[in-house]
């Protein structure tokens, strides 16, 4: 699972980039911070012996999806917004309060030893193993996923047609 120092450095980068995404006024900066975050997560995957997922993370997430985001942001010219934080008053306090509670609960459970077990040393999962599992045990969900993607493509065609108002 990697050395604690490496973990802490990566964790700081991940949290920092996430906060950067949250707090940037400019949507383009948010997207760039998120790419950094995704890259960090890809490194975590490497540390966890999930090489295939790490590459997919970089290629699909940090690559394709985030490019799509940036493309849309720039297409719409929506990068600047006067006020990044929309919520005010009780909604803001409630959101932050709930967030604190959530983190506290998890941290608390961590500190009190809830669910703590002996660390196991996981075996490296090769792409072959993953593929075998996917095409043997998960062949049906895999095919359904392809249909899902097909539906998404058709949906995109429908959505991207100009809305013609009748009459």
């Amino acid at each position: 699972m990697g050395s604690p120092i490496l973990f802490i450095i990566l964790a700081v980068v991940a949290i920092g980039s996430a906060l950067g995404m949250l707090l940037s006024k400019n949507a383009v900066y948010s997207a760039l911070f998120l790419i950094l975050n995704f890259g960090t997560v890809a490194v975590f995957y490497m540390l966890l012996n999930a090489a295939f997922l790490a590459f997919v993370q970089v290629a699909v997430y940090a690559g394709a999806i985030m490019v799509l985001f940036l493309f849309v942001i720039m297409l719409l010219g929506a990068e600047e917004s006067e006020q990044a934080i929309r919520q005010t008053g009780w909604q803001l306090y409630l959101s932050v309060g709930l967030a604190v509670i959530l983190v506290t609960a998890v941290v608390g459970s961590f500190l009190t030893g809830y669910g703590r077990g002996e660390p196991l040393v996981g075996a490296a999962v090769t792409p072959q193993q993953l593929a075998i599992s996917m095409f043997e045990n998960y062949i049906f969900p895999f095919e359904v996923t392809s249909i899902l993607l097909l539906v998404a493509v058709i949906g995109l065609f429908v959505m991207s047609k100009k809305i013609v108002k009748k009459g």
Partner: protein, 101 residues
């Protein structure tokens, strides 16, 4: 000190919370969408950590499916945002209140 699965769970929780705060607090629909992706990633990270911890490959398979679905979701979601922008000339989420009952 050894890195255990709890560390990853903690990191995932923090990332998830930040993502949630982004969904809750930001005005820009695209940023909200990105926050959703962050939350998915936080969960994915925890999945992979547990897969490693338990020596179970199914966690990784699940992450693969989440990625596929989120790719489709992003494609459709961004198209929706574009459509909304075309009709409303804005992607400020607080102006999208036609659901008011």
């Amino acid at each position: 000190m050894v890195v255990t699965v709890e560390w990853y769970v903690l990191l995932g929780a923090v990332l998830f919370t930040i993502g949630a705060l982004g969904v809750l607090l930001r005005r820009n629909a695209i940023v909200i969408f990105m926050s959703v992706e962050l939350m998915l990633n936080a969960v994915n990270l925890v999945f992979v950590a547990f897969a490693y911890h338990l020596g179970d490959i199914n966690g990784q398979v699940l992450v693969f499916f989440v990625m596929t679905v989120s790719a489709a979701e992003v494609a459709v979601g961004l198209a929706i945002i574009v459509a909304i922008f075309q009709s409303k000339k804005s992607i400020d989420i607080s102006e999208l209140n036609t659901l008011k009952g």
